[in-house]
Symmetry: C2
Subunit: 378 residues, 2 copies
Amino acid sequence: MGMADFPVAEFEHRLERVQFAMHAGNIDAILFTSEAEIRYFAGFRTLFWQSPARPWFLVLPSIGKPIAVIPEIGAALMGTTWIDDIRTWASPAADDDGISLLSSVLGKFVRIGLMMGRESSLRMPLADFNTLQANLRSASFVDVSPMVSELRMLKSSAEIEIISAICTIASNSFENADTLFYEGQKLNEAFRAFKIELLKQGAEDVPYLVGGAGESGYEDVISPPDDTPLKKGDVLMLDTGATLRGYFCDFDRNFAIESANDAAKTAYATLYTATEAALDIARPGATCAELFSVMAKVIGSNSSDVGRYGHGLGLQLTETPSIISFDETVLEAGMVITLEPSMMVGEGKMMVHEENIVIRDGMPQLLSKRAAPELPII
Amino acid sequence: MGMADFPVAEFEHRLERVQFAMHAGNIDAILFTSEAEIRYFAGFRTLFWQSPARPWFLVLPSIGKPIAVIPEIGAALMGTTWIDDIRTWASPAADDDGISLLSSVLGKFVRIGLMMGRESSLRMPLADFNTLQANLRSASFVDVSPMVSELRMLKSSAEIEIISAICTIASNSFENADTLFYEGQKLNEAFRAFKIELLKQGAEDVPYLVGGAGESGYEDVISPPDDTPLKKGDVLMLDTGATLRGYFCDFDRNFAIESANDAAKTAYATLYTATEAALDIARPGATCAELFSVMAKVIGSNSSDVGRYGHGLGLQLTETPSIISFDETVLEAGMVITLEPSMMVGEGKMMVHEENIVIRDGMPQLLSKRAAPELPII
């Protein structure tokens, strides 16, 4: 049975912060349906979310501890968390898959918060949500996405410690690039070798590994690998979201195979300069829009179609805020973000560069080991 | 750039089948928001779904090919699929994250299908869905979960080939149990060793690996591993959902470390007998409820709180149908399912046993290599 990822005080602190915001927003309770939030507030961590068969609920009242309303199969694991009040039903159910039980728990609340905004999903059947709304005729559902995202943006020192550890594991894995990757290796074999290396270095899982290879750059940054062999002169990029105790790193590295052309070297240097510019101003008080702006200035007219130059990072691969022109989120000490400028390199090719940092009073702290200033040739 | 997982004819066939059902159900178009369905109908496969930052849409009209309505970052990868009509927007967006674009595509349809039922989620912000509904005032949304689930239950021979291949990879990995697992090994190190073995044997990813260890049995079956060392007499269980080209295997194996007590041996034999009973009747025409019933009869009063004894399997770890008392789905040749009986073994301990099969005319075909009839001691 898994150990708790954090001491109880961590969860008490998270609860205190959200309840403070709930009182300010006049929210009586929040209903959570999604993996990230149920893990954040209850400490319930399992890969079982891969199965869509059963819904899971956490009700967080404005006073008192959260109440888990979950399928019986999860009772034992939930019992190991700091949650005391665990209500279960036999799921899957023929007709009523937890909805009347959930309705009874929510029945006394009038203004119920729900994640409805940016980056959220409703992780339960919409038909069941409609039934729930009908059951709770006197209640209204209000969006708490901004409130909850804002709380999650600020990481505790315990969270930063874990993210730092997985970033170090990924950095150590990338350090072995010259033994892992070689001319003639199929791209999917390069991916496989890197996943194994990450696990050997201490990663618990590698839920995310994307990348590409090509002369000067690669065609996109979200594809699974094919079996094309790496050629001399290719730029190989691997972008990994490996995890430790459910927390992600998220950064990439570029390597040239045997040699690199000038276009690749120049693009790499430009992206390096862009992250330097962002690192120079990533301080409490600066905004995400300002980070975007200094990177965009370095990249000029060669911007890619990725849409943003970084994002929050934590128990999800990407979290709020976005490093983008319209995100006016003000940086605070304790935020963990990625700096991820990307650019086009000639017709239909792109390059991307990424670092993970934590905002500190003064200079930011790099969690990923800083990439080499010039494109490494392996 | 990833290769297509299937020839175009496979997708044409999927489209034909769903459009036939749409005509019968008087559905003008279906809106898909979720990974599984967008992969099934478009062939769009990426780990980028790990990022919740952007919504993705596929509109499937009752006549003609599907239309992708997606963030710009996905245009290149979607361009490698069989989809021709790809509409993109710059995402994340300050205010309108694809909703007016999606509204314009859906504007001409009156009855719009949406996955709203069992096992579905709304993989877009609920607030945006409410805006979409307001934009499409003359349209009504109707649940197509049963229709789509029913189509996906029947696997093509190309799908079965991939699932069979990943089952073989997992079977080969389990064959090496006696060199991978040993007394004194920490449980999380056993998990790590098994993940690496799966990758070496040819798995592309290991999105799901759960399990447990203990005398007679384990406390639950969805926990992440802790660092408790394996002891002599422990039953070690590993349950893996490894993937190949995005398709899952899902089965477990039990091993006794050095020795096994009688309770463990008896429970193992009971579960083996239960799967034998299910294999004996798993034929076209039998129902899921009947499969459940023959297994429940073998297990008797020792049933666990898992709630079901198997499920569908394919591009998700678990799919419909459920092997449960109330699921009257009639088995057909080409369905891929798991048989997964579980039972209590004394106070608070359980054991689970799982096989993957494809329903054929006549006897079912085992995709996992049949477990040993007696608890293997390693």
